[in-house]
Subunit: 209 residues, 2 copies
Amino acid sequence: MHFDKQKIQSAERIFRLNLINAITGIKPANLIGTISQNGQTNLAVFSSVMHLGSNPALLGFILRPQKDARRHTYENILETQYYTINHIHQKFVEQAHYTSAKFEKEESEFAQCKLTEEYLFHFKAPFVKESSLKIGLSLQQTIPIELNDTIIVIGQVEHIVATDKIVSKNGYIDLEGSETVGISGLNTYYTFQKRYEFPYARTSELPYF
Amino acid sequence: MHFDKQKIQSAERIFRLNLINAITGIKPANLIGTISQNGQTNLAVFSSVMHLGSNPALLGFILRPQKDARRHTYENILETQYYTINHIHQKFVEQAHYTSAKFEKEESEFAQCKLTEEYLFHFKAPFVKESSLKIGLSLQQTIPIELNDTIIVIGQVEHIVATDKIVSKNGYIDLEGSETVGISGLNTYYTFQKRYEFPYARTSELPYF
């Protein structure tokens, strides 16, 4: 199967959306929790959360400001400067998916999708109580990508809250035991099996392939 | 378990690296293939490839220019303007991992790690023959993130090459059947099981949670 640029551009819109959203491989499944200055909460599923650096601990995610659901997240982050990123697990994957429906700003996806707001350490933004790994972040920078009107939102990790068994003593996270899920394309969810763990790669210690 | 910013910053370095590299959830596993103007090829594993948009089809990835292995990738992309992104599958995951060792610029990771250069459609950069889903991209923009000296590299999709059975007629990609892998942290690899497929979420069609 071969698609060149012209064939991609002339493909049927939904086919192209599905294909291009899937070609990077598996994507992480996270819920971003926010609150407006007048106390209205919002929760939205994102598959674009990425690691940017460990020291300082910086995470990014991509948003399209023109889409309704995403706009509430962005407006709240700009208002309060804080947000949370929460892993999605099997037990609430359907509820998490439906946070992508276009609810009105005065409707909280927490209530609509039966997920629970949790406030910890006097942190401004709501965590998702049902999640086994939750991160509180403070906004550091927004970078517009003019090529297609998206925005990269960068935050610093202020808090990490995890159930004990999910984090090993060397800092590894058990994505299989925690039943964390990942996203392919726009609406397919996968679970994981841990298969390989390799050492830090050194040219002096290459295996015999 | 709770880590606040101070506890993260004062944590032992390797623990922090492992933890912060893993907290975003699963990451896609891809090999980026490049060639220098004088014909020296390079191949490097990346877990930061992300979807930026479908029309035009844009993908991004993050790199740290100061790291040796990553620098060769970046130098080659700047020289030729072209690169490939190739899914990593179970059958060659160990070879793919070892492309992260710090080989000299005149040593190609293709040869060192026993993976095969493939040249298709007169595209400048080498694809990975062993991969079931390969993407050829043209450089569009590099965006420096000054907060921590990383760079976002953005490319437009010029070619998608896939084995027939991996792409469905609606554009979905079968990450389980293709034995594509994902990365947690720096060196743990997971395989996937497809578990859920939900419709486009509409507020008028909420399930009963």
